[in-house]
């Protein structure tokens, strides 16, 4: 079974829930509807034998709707194929957890929650994992300045603003061409 056949099988089984498919440099990506995400993931694990969840990450398309996008990387040890599954999420939506399918998703989803602020429905222990409980921001969002924002939690932790001095530079999200997306120093 090749990854292309896997993509065809998903399309055949889920029909309209598959919004788009993409092949780039031998990597196959399937965009699915968020409502059917959990069903697709379960089917991938049980029927298509993707027994290893390599990574869970997220994207912030600031200025677009829906704003966020979940990215899941799957691998099957028995057939050696990779598959990427994506689902768009708007700001007020929760994502169904896949930690019931792959226990490794537990901490991955906590990291996504910590850095991006996406919530996961049905997650057994949705707490921050890198920053401390009570930290008020989501640092990997595009509207969060790279130099940070000050925050204060007496006797727990605190943050200040790091001097950027004109750099390093941040990619400008939502630009129409590469010139508009050119990384530039930003002050928020």
């Amino acid at each position: 079974m090749t990854a292309a056949e896997v993509v065809k099988a998903i399309q055949g089984h889920f029909g309209d829930a598959v919004l788009a498919t993409k092949e780039h440099l031998g990597e196959h990506t399937v965009d699915v509807n968020l409502d059917r995400l959990h069903a697709v993931m379960r089917w991938c694990r049980d029927e298509l034998r993707f027994d290893y969840l390599v990574d869970v990450s997220s994207l912030d398309h600031l200025g677009e709707e829906p704003r966020f996008e979940m990215v899941y990387e799957l691998y099957g040890y028995s057939h050696g194929q990779h598959l990427r599954i994506k689902a768009k999420v708007s700001e007020d939506q929760g994502v169904p957890t896949v930690s019931d399918l792959w226990p490794t998703a537990d901490w991955h989803e906590r990291e996504v929650y910590d850095m991006m602020g996406i919530t996961f429905d049905g997650h057994p222990d949705l707490r921050r994992i890198l920053m401390w409980d009570g930290y008020p921001f989501y640092p990997l969002r595009k509207d969060f300045p790279l130099e940070g924002k000050p925050s204060e939690m007496p006797d727990v932790a605190f943050t200040g603003v790091a001097p950027l001095e004109g750099g390093p530079f941040v990619t400008c999200a939502g630009g129409q061409d590469t010139i508009a997306r050119e990384p530039r120093a930003k002050r928020v």
């Binding site: 890198l130 920053m131 790279l146 790091a162 950027l164």
Partner: protein, 179 residues
């Protein structure tokens, strides 16, 4: 074969060959001499600098040549805190707390770019230098510094301790009361 000439010392005169005999020195010099040659480090290893710190402690570079081999993992027994690595905001207050637990007199070495200034991490998560929280005696450049650099920093700290008015500083409150 003639006996070797005794080494001339100006700060404190000690010769193991005349142990039991009397020798004269200033109390400051004696205290400083004892302190600087038995600095017990509190290894605050937070990132890759800690690997160089370990190398400094191991046989090739051998920090015990300078009397600082007794790494204490309890701050109550330590004299010098070697902050080696990136201090994140989440870790910063823990470092400060351990520093507060160390008894006086105490010194601090900021080892490497991160501990000195935040280094390459101009970001939301990293404290821009441990000197924002605790007083630093010696800064060591490098990313990470080589063990020789740490030893140089240690020797500079020893030179600094040598110049301290340890007795007056220690009895400051008593002397003020008497005066």
């Amino acid at each position: 074969m003639t006996a070797l000439e005794p080494i001339q010392r100006t700060d404190a005169a000690y010769d193991s060959k005349i142990e039991g005999n009397v020798f004269f020195t200033r109390l400051d010099a004696a205290i400083n001499w004892m302190r600087k040659n038995s600095l017990w480090p509190m290894p605050m290893g937070l990132a890759c600098c800690a690997i160089e710190l370990m190398a400094t402690g191991a046989s090739r570079f051998d920090i015990s040549r300078f009397g600082a081999e007794v790494m204490r993992f309890s701050p109550r027994q330590a004299d010098v805190m070697i902050v080696s690595g990136t201090v994140t905001y989440k870790m910063a207050l823990a470092v400060k707390r351990i520093w507060d637990q160390m008894p006086e007199p105490k010194w601090c070495i900021a080892m490497g770019a991160c501990a000195s200034s935040g280094g390459m991490y101009r970001s939301y998560a990293v404290l821009q230098g441990i000197d924002r929280l605790i007083p630093v005696d010696v800064y060591i450049s490098g990313c990470p510094p080589r063990p020789e650099a740490l030893l140089e920093g240690l020797m500079r700290l020893q030179r600094k301790i040598d110049k301290e008015h340890s007795l007056i500083e220690q009895k400051k409150e008593l002397l003020e009361e008497l005066a």
